[in-house]
Amino acid sequence: MVDSAALAVITFQSTVIGLVFAALGLGFNIVYRVSKSINLAHPAIVLLAVYVTLVASSYLASHGLASLGFALGTLVAAVVGFATGVAMEITIARPLRGRPPVALIAATLGAYYILKGVAKAVARDMWTTASYRLPGISISLGPVVVDATDIAAIVLAGGTLAALIVLHRFTRLGVAMRAVAEDPYGASAYGLPVKTLTMLSWGLAGLAGALAGVALASKTGVEPSIDLYVLEALAASLLAGLDSVAGIVVGGLALGFVRQMSNYFLMSWLPGFGDAAAFILMLLVLLVKPYGLFGTERIERV
């Protein structure tokens, strides 16, 4: 059977990937809370951020700042992610408020194309598989070897999750954002700047996507099809419930474990099943419990 050392490694890797998926899914949930729509351009925001980091860090490395390259590149990507989120709110979400879901789905698909084009234009000749230049450190904890990619992923994904969950739960700004998400008319009656807060939410979703994307890419490597992982993260969002922010940690970890475990244990019968496992999980959640574990059930009145 499986020996305990291998199991420890798998568990650790599942946790890391799970945290990354949780951070990736966070963007979907934040946007869903305020705009009641799925942002299908989120994968492209991640793609853009991943390549912005690559380009920025290699630019800095060529100017003698190799040691700071990755950190500064991540910072640039975070700014780009925030700005993209804000821009999407202004150009797409705001004019389409109150239109049927198909309109927003289509518009965000349009934004997906645009951002993919921008990412390709930014990357130019770097539009290939690559990996970030990370310091070659590694720590051994028993059988588990933690290297720089794991540390980068844990710090970025965990940090993003912690910061945004704390922001949402415990700050005045978070309370205001929750109020807007729950009842925009009521919130504006109390004098809250609903438009600004909605815009800020989209910006934070973009920021979360950018940081999570860099975490993902430092783990899996930079590749032009990295946006497909973000669609898998949609399963984590759904499992948690699309309007739950803190629940995403549970959803992400569950997805990470399902994915890695099925990859490991089903390797000989169903190769690469982990890629499909996320989507099968998604279908199961949609069919059995569409509002997720922590989401609020919407009651439809006619």
Binding site: G110, Y113, G117, K120, G272, D275, F279, L287, V302
Partner: protein
């Protein structure tokens, strides 16, 4: 076009061809389509490609435009049709040989297999709608893609045998004139059927479900049946298109049936205009699919395109701007634009 309505019988009002300009357009269009092979093999292969995507887009227009069920799995259903043809012929070749012309018989069969798969893809629609349904179809697309990659076609590439595409001395493969007339004929028949679906009781049930499924069930429409049927019909069209795709490409792999294709088909339907199930997809295909094929080489040659990462970058940007722009600015799509142009000329030169 006359200014008033001079219809005396219901059948006149319901006819597809109501005005002299319709007849003139039909004759001109038919003449153009019949004469197109004279324009060379490049024009013919462009037209075949456009007709294949048109059939798939009409199917999606029935599912999404008429019945309001968002589907991002149409690309994978295209693949189901294509693989039905290729894999059945592979099986026949291994068990006693391929009968002549059998690929042509498999076209409706591919439609039926895809319709059955489409029913499965549409199952979540009984419980879900809107965003949740879109996500379910993305998941179904990904699962089907996994099956293509790992189970059905692990070697990335199948070939339709030449003998299966030959019937009575005519070769229905590649970009030849025989396949051209077959594809155009199939597309015309399927478009006519789709146009009539919208006028039948089934089509009215679809529209009722699209506008409000709860009210539809209150007036006695079987909502589950209507949704299932909408997915099955849309998938049937995708399956037939996939079979034609197999004939046209002869050799193909699963990379053509990914989420990109599904998104492109949805973009075609929405940019063209989801409110008209024939004209919308037709205009969408001509603009987004054929238009791009024509412009691809031109754009690649433009100075400066290499600096921003090649023609694909321009394609993504133009596609994205078109889709987002139409959804935000003109929800009726190209059809809506044309309608306004038509209204303008109806009153011209005495517009207000």
């Amino acid at each position: 076009m006359p200014a008033g309505v001079f219809k005396e019988r219901y059948s006149q009002l319901m006819a597809h061809l109501r005005y002299p300009i319709h007849w003139a357009g039909l004759v001109a269009g038919l003449a153009l389509l019949l004469a197109l092979p004279l324009a060379g093999s490049y024009a013919m292969s462009l037209a075949i490609d456009a007709a294949i995507f048109f059939v798939a887009a009409v199917g999606l227009a029935v599912t999404t435009g008429l019945a309001g069920q968002i589907s991002l799995a149409q690309g994978a259903l295209l693949g189901v049709g294509a693989y039905t043809v290729a894999k059945t012929l592979e099986f026949l070749a291994a068990h006693g040989g391929v009968p002549e012309g059998s690929a042509l018989l498999l076209i409706p069969a591919a439609g039926l297999v895809a319709a059955a798969v489409g029913l499965l893809v549409g199952l979540p629609s009984f419980k879900l709608k809107g965003y949740y349904l879109a996500m379910a179809s993305i998941a179904a697309q990904a699962v089907l893609m996994y099956l293509f990659q790992r189970v059905i076609d692990p070697n990335q590439g199948v070939t339709v045998p030449d003998k299966a595409m030959t019937l009575g001395g005519l070769y229905f493969g590649g970009g030849g004139a025989a396949l051209y007339y077959l594809t155009i004929g199939v597309a015309a028949v399927m478009a006519l059927v789709a146009a009539n679906i919208g006028r039948s009781s089934i089509g009215r049930a679809f529209k009722a479900v699209r506008d409000n499924d709860v009210s539809a069930s209150i007036v006695g429409i079987d909502v589950a049946k209507a949704k299932a049927l909408a997915f099955a019909v849309g998938a049937f069209y995708a399956g037939v298109a996939g079979a034609l795709y197999a004939l046209y490409n002869i050799s193909f792999g699963w990379d053509a049936f990914g989420l990109d294709t599904s998104i492109e088909l949805l973009a075609i339907v929405l940019v063209g205009g989801a409110s008209r199930i024939i004209w919308g997809p037709l205009l969408g295909v001509l603009l987004l699919h054929t238009g791009w094929s024509l412009l691809d080489d031109v754009v690649s040659g433009l100075p400066g395109v290499g600096l921003i990462g090649g023609a694909d970058t321009v394609k993504y940007l133009v596609f994205g701007l078109l889709v987002a722009g139409f959804v935000v600015g003109e929800p009726d799509g190209l059809v809506g634009v044309l309608r306004r142009v038509k209204e303008y000329f109806r009153l011209w030169p005495f517009s207000y």
